[in-house]
C-alpha cells in the first residue's frame, strides 16, 4: 500500500516546537492508555512498563547496552535531551481517546503519540494524529484494520491478527508432523473486539490453507459461569481448543475443565488472559501444558530480557507480561527513531520511523526485527509459542528459540 495523498485537510506539520528551542529541552511523548475502566488493569501495567523504559533511556544502563538508548543518558543526538511522557487516560472510550490525542498534540505539544491498547481507541486517536501530522506508534493493538487505512503517520510494531493465525497454523502443522491429531480445531472467543477480531483472523488464516474451524464459540467475558461452553466442547470433542479470552474467563475455563473432568488434547490460549500473571498464580496447577503465544519470555538469567523482567519485578512485584512488553517495545522503537531523526519535527521523526531497521538482537521482545512496510506494519513482528510447565511459561516453539521440550497432550491437573 502506498502512502496516500493527504487530501484537502493536509497541513504542514507544526514547525517550531518548544523542544527545538533548547538542545536539552525534554522530548515529550504522549501515551494514551486505559488507566481506568474495564481494561484499567492492562493500562496500568503498561504505564509501569513504559515508566521503566523511560528510566532505561534517561539514565545510563550499560548492562542493557544492546537495547537502543540504554547505555547513554537521554537522546544523544538531541544533546542528551530527556524523554518525558504525558499520560492520558482513554477511559475505555473511543471519543475520550480522541480528545486525549487532540489535547496531547495541541496543549502539551507532544512530538509523537503511542498507545492506545484497545484497537478501537487506537483507531480514533490515530485519526487525530494523522490529521495533525504527528507520528503514532501502536505497540499493542492488534486489529488488522488499523494498518489498512492508508495512513502516513501510523506505525505498528506488534504482530497483529493475521500473524497469530499464521503462527498457530504453522505450529499445528509441526504438531501434526509429530503424530498428534490436529484435525478438529475449536475457537472459543470472548465477544468484544479483541476476541472477535483475533478469532476472525485465525479463521481466515485457516481458510487460506484450506482448513475449516470445526467449532466456534463466542461468549460474553463478564459471565460468571462457563460450564455450558465447556460442555459444548466436551460434546464436540475437538483436537485443539484455541481460547481468545480475558483473564477472569481464562481462569474460569481452567477451573471448569477441572470441575467437569475435561481435558482437550491441545489447549492454546491467545495471550491476553493466559498471559496475565494472575493466570499461572490462580490456576497454574490446573492448566499444566497449556500453550500460549508471547513475544516476551524472560529467558536465561544473563539475557537482556531477564534483566528487564527483574527490573520490572523489582518495581511492581510482578513478572512482565506479553502485552506490557510489546507496549514497551513500541516505545523503545519510537524513542530510537526520534533520536535517529536528531530533531523533533514530526516529518523528521516520521522519516526516521519509516527507515527503522532494528535487528532482533536490539529488541526486548521476540520479534525478528522491526522494519515497517508502507502501511506502517512491522513486517518482522513475531511471536513464540510458550507452554505452561510448572509455575511458569517456557518457550517451546519454534525449536530454535525453545528452552524446553514441548509436552503434549494437555495435562491440566494431576
Amino acid at each position: 500500500m502506498s502512502i496516500t495523498r493527504r487530501g484537502i485537510l493536509a497541513v504542514p506539520a507544526l514547525a517550531a516546537l518548544p523542544a527545538m528551542a533548547e538542545a536539552a529541552a525534554p522530548v515529550r511523548i504522549g501515551c494514551i492508555e486505559p488507566l481506568t475502566g474495564n481494561a484499567g488493569s492492562a493500562g496500568q501495567s503498561i504505564k509501569q512498563g513504559i515508566t521503566l523504559v523511560l528510566d532505561i533511556i534517561n539514565t545510563p544502563h550499560p548492562d542493557l547496552a544492546p537495547l537502543p538508548l540504554a547505555a547513554t543518558s537521554g537522546l544523544p543526538r538531541l544533546g542528551g535531551a530527556k524523554v518525558e511522557v504525558i499520560w492520558a487516560d482513554n477511559q475505555g472510550s473511543p471519543a475520550v481517546g480522541q480528545s486525549d490525542a487532540l489535547r496531547l498534540i495541541t496543549q502539551d505539544h507532544v512530538v509523537a503519540l503511542c498507545g492506545a491498547y484497545q484497537s478501537s481507541i487506537t483507531l480514533t486517536a490515530s485519526a487525530v494524529a494523522e490529521r495533525y501530522g504527528i507520528p503514532f506508534v501502536a505497540g499493542e493493538s492488534v486489529a488488522a484494520n488499523l494498518t489498512q487505512r492508508g495512513y502516513k503517520w501510523f506505525f505498528r510494531t506488534t504482530p497483529y491478527g493475521p500473524d497469530f493465525g499464521k503462527l498457530y497454523l504453522d505450529f499445528l502443522a509441526y504438531v501434526a508432523a509429530t503424530g498428534l491429531a490436529v484435525g478438529k480445531i475449536a475457537i472459543v472467543h470472548e465477544n468484544t473486539d479483541y476476541g472477535t477480531s483475533v478469532a476472525g483472523s485465525i479463521t481466515e488464516a485457516a481458510k487460506a490453507r484450506g482448513r475449516t474451524i470445526a467449532q466456534t464459540i463466542s461468549y460474553n467475558a463478564n459471565g460468571t459461569d462457563v460450564s455450558p461452553q465447556v460442555l459444548a466442547l466436551k460434546n464436540g470433542k475437538p483436537d485443539v481448543v484455541i481460547f481468545v479470552s480475558y483473564t477472569s474467563d481464562s481462569i474460569l475455563y481452567m477451573k471448569t475443565f477441572h470441575t467437569l473432568g475435561y481435558r482437550p488434547p491441545i489447549v492454546i490460549g491467545d495471550d491476553s488472559g493466559f498471559s496475565d500473571p494472575a493466570f499461572p498464580k490462580a490456576v497454574g496447577n490446573l492448566a499444566q501444558g497449556a500453550l500460549n503465544r508471547s513475544a516476551f519470555v524472560p529467558g536465561k538469567p544473563d539475557s537482556i530480557t531477564y534483566k528487564i523482567n527483574a527490573l520490572f519485578k523489582q518495581e511492581t512485584g510482578r513478572d512482565l507480561d506479553d502485552t506490557t512488553a510489546r507496549a514497551m517495545q513500541g516505545f523503545f522503537v519510537l524513542c530510537d527513531a526520534i533520536n535517529r531523526a536528531g530533531a523533533t519535527a514530526p516529518d523528521a521523526i516520521r522519516a526516521a520511523l519509516a527507515a527503522t531497521d532494528l535487528p532482533a538482537s536490539r529488541l526486548m521482545t521476540g520479534y525478528k526485527g522491526v522494519k515497517f512496510d508502507s502501511s506502517g506494519q512491522n513486517t518482522l513482528a513475531y511471536s513464540l509459542v510458550i507452554q505452561l510447565q510448572g509455575a511458569a511459561y517456557v518457550p517451546v516453539w519454534p525449536l530454535a528459540e525453545a528452552t524446553a521440550k514441548l509436552a503434549l497432550p494437555f495435562k491440566g491437573w494431576t
Binding site: 484499567g40 492520558a88 480528545s99
Partner: protein, 321 residues
C-alpha cells in the same frame, strides 16, 4: 420575571455560539463541540424524559441507531456517513412505535426498567450482528474522499454543524413548549389522571414526544459517528450513553428549555478537564469527584440547578387566598 430569565439564558447561548471562535486552541474548541453534541442528545432526551416525565434509560438505542446508520451508509453503500442520518431517523420512528407503545403502559420505575432492558437487548443484538461489524464496530472514512465526508482537522466545523442542529432542536422545543403539545406533555408529566380528565390523549402525545426525542437522539448519534469516525456496541448502545443524557438533563433541570444545555456546559468540561488534570494519574479521582457531585445535587437540589430559578420567582409572588 421569566421573560428576563429567558433573556439571560439566550445571552448565555449566544456567548456559547461565539466562545470557541475566541480561542485558537483546538482542544477547547473540541470541548465546545462536545458540549453542544452532548446538549443535543440531552435536550432530545428532555422532550420525553423532562417535559413528559417518562424517565427513559434506554435512549442509547436511538443514539446507537443513528451512529450505526451513518457508518453503515459509509461501509456498505460507500456514501458519506452523514447520508445515513436520515435512515437513522427513519429507523428511530419505527423503533419508537414498536417499543414505545407497549412500554408506555408502564409507570415510573417500571418504565425506566423496560427502557434499560430494551437498550441492553439492542446492544447485545448488535454485538452479535456480524454484518454491522459485531463487537468490532464500524469505522468511518479514514481520509476524506470529498467534503461531504465531513472530516475536518479543526473542531470548529463540527461545532458549527452541531450548533445548527442544537439551535433547530431548541427552537423546536421552544415552539413546542409554547404550543398545545408542550402544555400537554408537561401536564402528562405532572399528573396523567388530571391530564386525561382535560381531554389529553396521553399515549398519543407520549408517542409524539418519543418520535421527536428519538429522532434527534438518532441524529446526535449520527453526528457523533461522523466526528469520531467510529462506532461500536459500547459507544453506541452502552448504558453510559443513556445515563449521560439523563444526568445532564437532570443536573441542569429536566423539563426546562435550557436545562440540558446548562448541564452539558457544566458536565462535559468538568469531565474533560478532570480527565486532563487527573486522568493521567489513573486513579479514577475524576470519577470519584463526579460521583460525589451527582450525589450532592440529588440530595440538595433534586430538581436540578434550574430549580432555583422558579423557586425564587415563586417566593416573590404574593400568595393566593
Amino acid at each position: 420575571m421569566r421573560a428576563s430569565l429567558r433573556r439571560v439564558l439566550i445571552a448565555i447561548a449566544i456567548l456559547l455560539a461565539i466562545a470557541p471562535v475566541l480561542t485558537q486552541d483546538a482542544f477547547y474548541q473540541r470541548i465546545a463541540a462536545l458540549v453542544v453534541l452532548a446538549a443535543i442528545s440531552a435536550s432530545a432526551w428532555n422532550v420525553i424524559g423532562g417535559y413528559a416525565g417518562q424517565v427513559s434509560f434506554g435512549h442509547s438505542v436511538y443514539f446507537g441507531i443513528g451512529g450505526y446508520a451513518a457508518l453503515l451508509a459509509f461501509t456498505k453503500l460507500g456514501l458519506p456517513p452523514i447520508a445515513g442520518a436520515p435512515l437513522g431517523i427513519l429507523a428511530s420512528f419505527v423503533l419508537s412505535a414498536i417499543v414505545g407503545l407497549p412500554s408506555f403502559r408502564l409507570r415510573g420505575h417500571y418504565f425506566s426498567m423496560a427502557t434499560i432492558a430494551i437498550a441492553a437487548l439492542a446492544g447485545l443484538l448488535v454485538t452479535n450482528w456480524g454484518y454491522a461489524g459485531g463487537a468490532i464496530g464500524l469505522m468511518g472514512p479514514a481520509t476524506p474522499r470529498s467534503p461531504a465526508d465531513l472530516l475536518f482537522r479543526s473542531p470548529l466545523p463540527y461545532y458549527a454543524i452541531f450548533l445548527v442542529v442544537l439551535a433547530i432542536l431548541l427552537v423546536l422545543t421552544w415552539w413546542m413548549e409554547r404550543s398545545r403539545m408542550g402544555f400537554y406533555l408537561r401536564a402528562i408529566g405532572s399528573g396523567e389522571r388530571a391530564a386525561a380528565s382535560l381531554g389529553v390523549p396521553i399515549r398519543r402525545y407520549k408517542l409524539y414526544a418519543l418520535f421527536i426525542s428519538g429522532a434527534f437522539t438518532a441524529l446526535a448519534g449520527s453526528l457523533y459517528a461522523v466526528m469520531i469516525g467510529f462506532i461500536d456496541p459500547d459507544s453506541g448502545f452502552g448504558i453510559l450513553v443513556s445515563v449521560n443524557m439523563v444526568v445532564m438533563a437532570a443536573l441542569g433541570g429536566a423539563g426546562t428549555l435550557f436545562g440540558p444545555l446548562v448541564g452539558a456546559i457544566i458536565l462535559v468540561p468538568l469531565e474533560e478537564t478532570t480527565n486532563a488534570l487527573l486522568g493521567g494519574g489513573g486513579t479514577g479521582a475524576a470519577y470519584v469527584a463526579y460521583g460525589v457531585i451527582i450525589m450532592l445535587i440529588a440530595r440538595f437540589s433534586p430538581g436540578g440547578l434550574a430549580q432555583f430559578l422558579p423557586r425564587i420567582a415563586a417566593r416573590k409572588s404574593p400568595r393566593a387566598a
